[in-house]
């Protein structure tokens, strides 16, 4: 993925690969799917937060000595793409209590077969914030690109957007990069590609359905 410098892939450790092995499996039941997805999401969120800028910050320790450390600069918020993206909100909250979370609903228009924006709700000062955009799957990138565009339209700076997903396709990363080269994509894994129906291969099925319904 070196040709896309904006993309950060979590280290493909045995542990991570075995977590994915479980959630990919068609026979994995929903309880396990949710549990193991949540574990991956937690790692994604930690890596996402790791991309935020810091400044030097010195504190006094309990023994009275000074420790030259760091603190984050600027405020953040999450924006989840309804419905699958909402599954990642808990993971974000586990790392940032009381974080503000905006929502976007994008659905495929049955007549044109193109993604269409149905609903948007953002924190008022979103233009001043870093935004963690949440959507578990980056397949063609259609809805994520639209969501990013909505963020830009609301005054968010491109370089202040981090797009977190569990699984991406090379096609999706390419499409997203060509449109928004300054947005960082943080993904847990990149799969082989898309099939004729534009689903990720091998993928893990419809994330929202498996997380919420099946």
């Amino acid at each position: 993925m070196s040709e896309y410098p904006n993309t950060i892939i979590l280290p493909q450790t045995n542990q991570l690969v075995s977590l994915y092995s479980i959630i990919r499996d068609v026979n994995t039941r929903r309880g396990d799917f949710v549990f193991y997805s949540d574990r991956i999401i937690r790692l994604l969120v930690e890596e996402g937060l790791n991309q935020l800028p810091v400044e030097p910050h010195t504190v006094k320790t309990s023994t009275g000595i000074s420790y030259e450390g760091s603190r984050f600069v600027g405020k953040i918020c999450g924006v989840s793409i309804i419905r699958a993206g909402e599954s990642m909100e808990q993971g974000l909250r586990e790392c940032c209590r009381s974080v503000r979370i905006g929502k976007i609903l994008i659905q495929r228009d049955e007549e044109t077969a193109l993604p269409k924006l149905f609903y948007v709700k953002f924190p008022e000062d979103i233009a001043e914030r870093y935004v963690l955009l949440l959507d578990p799957m980056l397949a063609t990138g259609g809805s994520a690109i639209m969501a990013a565009q909505v963020l830009l339209d609301n005054g968010v700076k491109e370089e202040k957007i981090l797009f977190l997903n569990l699984l991406a396709s090379p096609e999706g990363i390419k499409a997203f990069y060509e449109k928004f080269p300054k947005i960082k994509i943080i993904t847990g894994g990149v799969d082989q590609g898309l099939d004729a129906n534009r689903y990720i291969v091998p993928g893990l099925g419809d994330f929202g359905d498996r997380y919420y319904c099946i």
Partner: protein
């Protein structure tokens, strides 16, 4: 890694493989038990084990049992006791293994189904009429005590004890005394006085004698403590190269730096502290998981019917927490492994000397398992070393131990690796040379996490 690579100077010798062993003998009713109890109270050592010979009576056959109920069985001859089993139990303890101490029922003249499991004794007191009888046992004893009380007084005490506490009748007791107890005492017990280092006349009333005895024992235990400590100290001094291959120190990313800064800040309130510690705990546990073996197994299918190779994690983890700082990881562990098995060890440092002492071990069946050993802070490393030794004693291979800690000093890690080069260690932040050592030596993690000093 081969286990032979440890030379003798780099092996950890836990205090329980060299327990201080005291034998207390004397005739029945002489006051041995009281003397032994007084010694235990006076020396006040954690993990002092009292082995009473009363639990080592041999089980009786039905015929012998019938004789026993008719007060016609000789319980006072040396043969009535299984001194070989006692010797074996002491040997097991000295080898760092668990010993199963039998429990004898006087009401049924039988060994019961139950046993008492003992492990990790620092001091062992062997008490009974024949404590100084078996030459093999005498070899193992550091101090041999004989309680010398007049036989008339012994009988008086015995009457009281057997009638009140053991539900026997007067006639039976007297019959037994004259037929068995007295002759055996004269023939077998009293001669063992010649093996004693110390003779305490009269028994528990002899406070001067007992005081002198405990002073001597305390002096010997002090020497033993100092040797243990200096041995731990030596582990950091050897110049032999260490293998850091299985040591993971989390990379200090922006993210981690912010978490560390928050946790180190003395102004940090507890809600904040717990929240940030739990975050780093998850990262540490995930780093530890990298030491578990995985194997590519069969082909499986996704909901889209695409094939992929399943990666299987081969081990279920057992967590062992060193009370209390290891307990800070419990919440995060449960979030990572919902069906986690947990063991606990209480190891505390003596406030004066700093010597680590094992107070409690509550371990599930861990032989042959993968164990995460949790300790939030490594300062001298001695508690962790002791904990690893306990795991090894319980059948866990060094290669199957992952020690997970948040803060660690370099010297602490060095000592641990010197003693146990085969274990893996995950560290959140290691003291760097310019950082104040005083801070890394102050134990504040569990105090803040649990909100007590």
């Amino acid at each position: 890694m081969s286990g032979d690579s440890h030379c003798s100077s780099s092996r950890y010798i836990p205090p329980w493989t060299q327990p201080y062993i005291i034998g207390v003998a004397g005739c029945s009713g002489s006051g041995k038990t009281s003397v032994a109890q007084m010694i235990i109270e006076e020396i006040n050592q954690p993990w002092t084990v009292l082995l009473s010979l009363d639990n080592f009576y041999k089980s009786l056959s039905p015929e012998m049992s019938a004789k026993a109920f008719a007060n016609d069985y000789d319980f006072d001859k040396p043969d009535a006791l299984d001194l070989d089993l006692l010797f074996k139990c002491v040997q097991e303890l000295r080898n760092g293994r668990k010993a199963e101490i039998p429990v004898y029922s006087f009401a049924h003249h039988q060994r019961t189904e139950r046993t008492t499991t003992i492990y990790g004794a620092n001091v062992i007191i062997i008490e009974g009429i024949y404590a100084l009888y078996n030459p093999d046992l005498l070899e193992l004893m550091d101090t041999k005590v004989y309680v010398d009380t007049d036989l008339d007084i012994c009988l008086a005490r015995r009457l009281n004890r057997d009638i009140v506490h053991r539900g026997r009748d007067l006639e039976g007791i007297l019959k037994q005394w004259h037929r068995f107890v007295k002759p055996n005492s004269e023939r077998f017990v009293i001669p063992t006085i010649s093996s004693a280092d110390v003779v305490i006349p009269r028994g528990a009333d002899n406070t001067v004698g007992i005081d002198m005895l405990t002073k001597h024992i305390n002096k010997q235990l002090d020497i033993k403590s100092r040797e243990h400590l200096s041995h731990l100290e030596m582990l950091s001094q050897s110049t032999e190269a260490l293998n850091y291959e299985n040591v993971t120190i989390l990379e200090e990313t922006n993210q981690l730096k912010v978490i560390n800064t928050t946790l180190f800040d003395r102004e940090c309130d507890r809600t904040e502290f717990i929240f940030f510690f739990d975050r780093i705990a998850i990262l540490l546990i995930n780093a530890g998981l990298e030491f578990l073996d995985c194997r590519e197994s069969e082909i499986r299918y996704t909901p889209g019917n695409h094939a992929y190779r399943f990666m299987e994690q081969l081990h279920a983890v057992v967590a062992v927490s060193i009370i209390r700082s290891g307990d800070c990881f419990m919440d995060s562990l449960k979030k990572t492994f919902p069906e986690l098995t947990v063991g606990k060890l209480l190891i505390q440092q003596d406030t004066h000397t700093g010597e680590p002492r094992l107070h409690t071990e509550r371990l599930p069946d861990i032989a042959g398992r993968k164990v995460f050993l949790l300790d939030a802070q490594i300062v001298s490393g001695s508690a962790a070393i002791m904990a690893v030794q306990v795991l090894v004693d319980h059948g866990v291979a060094e290669a199957d131990i992952v020690l997970v800690c948040y803060l660690a000093t370099k010297v602490g890690i060095k000592r641990i690796l010197r003693a146990f080069g085969g274990i893996a260690i995950v560290i959140g932040k290691q003291q760097s040379d310019e950082q104040g050592s005083s801070f890394f030596k102050s134990r504040f993690i569990d105090a803040q996490y649990f909100g007590t000093s």
